[in-house]
Amino acid sequence: MHRSPLPADGSRDRTAPPRRRRPSPLRISTVVSRVLIAAVLVVQVYPFLWLLQTSLRDRQDFASANPFSLPAQLTFDNVVRAIEQGDLLRNILNSLLITGGACLLLVVCGMAGAYAIAVLGFRFSGLAKGLFLLGIVVPVQVALVPLFIDYSRLGILDTRAAVIIPLAGFALPMALYLFLSFYSYIPRELYEAATLDGAGPYRIFARITLPMSWNTVVTVVMVNAIFIWNDFIFANTFLLSEELKTIPLGLQNYIGAMGNTDWTATFAAVSITVTPLLLVFLVLNRAMIYGLESGASKG
């Protein structure tokens, strides 16, 4: 279950200052705002509940009864069919490999770059920062045609590296900025003391900066893993063979092949691919939300 920092009954730990007025009985504005909040919640969450419910619903029941009514009984037949007919498990493995590779590359490069700019410092560090900032504004489409040509010349088209490089490259600016803003909080005295003890730049990185970075690493990985896992455009352009296809591509294939003939299995396939990331998100949402908030206010 999701842990809320607020107590369940909301009675203690009010962060607002003590109220001067007595809380009046529900005012109209309060009622309206609660209704709106609930309405938005329904719009955001109901589609998933419908998706999950339909994927556990009997095939005939779904075809004959109202598609939005509750299922008469739950069945896992659709899930079994979806796994048998598709390559979903292989797609999940491919997505794991590509997301893992891209995140690793992203973290290593983001940390090293931020260390060079913020801690070591050099004459053109401002220029380097500006150069990376460009990557936040520039759309990914610009890379499709040139990389397609470059990759086919180098012979790495249709390999995992072909998607890992641009995915990590376009995510690098934001990651670098998150590391930069964290490194500016590490006190100078720490580095000076280490220098007096005879530590050079490599040892300081390994003994001080790296061990202190783990929280930022988690944030960077969590935020970027969602977008890398869900990437469609690079994977669709650079991955051609079935053995390498990731979740979004596999799902699209499956929907194309089965979408009009076997609705409940298609919904089960979507649920199978959606659930792992959704579970990770529901458990680790704090790191993700923290990263999204600080990414926007500092980027």
Binding site: R14, L144, I149, G169, Y202, P248, I289
Partner: protein
Amino acid sequence: MLPHRSRLSVAVFLAPPLLLFGGGVLLPIVQSLGLSFYEWDGITGLDFVGLANYRELLLHDDVFRTALVNQLGYLAICLLLQVGGGLLVATLLISITRGREVLKVLYLMPAVISTPAIALLFQRVYSYEPVGLVNTLLNAVGLGALARPWLSDVSTVLAAVSAPEGWRFLGLYTVILYAALLAVPKELEEAASLDGANPLQVFTRIRFPHIMPVFVTTLIMATTYALRGFDIPFLLTNGGPGQASELVTTYMYKTAFTSGHYGSASAISVIIVLECLVAVGLILLLLRRKAA
């Protein structure tokens, strides 16, 4: 700056990110720009044509012009839902005391889902035969006359492919704007209320000016993301019916990977970059003038 650093150590740490960013982002941008001056089908030799690709697109290509106009409609709907909706929901969240953390997480859920899944969901939401969610609701409230196949009706398809993108990231912008609103000093709001300001005045005079920097960032994020929006329209309608939901991005993709006109496609991608830069410049300019 570390006292005992060396040039070599700077280079060692700077080389990996520069290689990745240079090879994956900067080099392709330069190559796109170069390639946009050539005509090339990917097989025979490069043919230098100067600005002809741009001239052809801007002056003679009706599909491209339709796509440009559509992209603006797509942008408007995304901004309305993401920044407008996000600001509204964030303001509402501030006013309640319980369960805000849980709500934030639930609002964010659609941002975690892959786009083919979202496209499939919305196909069912919009569908006419069998009756989808939107048409079911219209029938239920007595507006059955408005029911239609939203994705194949030329007059509604653009709005229908734009809404899922707005819906998907509403929670993201809510969370960002909510964090900014939380940082507004409570004393300021209280003082304004004591001076007789109504909630709307508290918002326009105190809260909104205070979150302005974050608001500008969100506006830039939402604009540049909407200008490069691709997956959902591509998967839902692939630009159709006709060119009714063709975006600059889907047109670029087809020009390159279906028709094989790499030079022309590069020119389109350069135009997308320019759009993003112009949009960011406009936002900064307009807001600076307003503040001055």
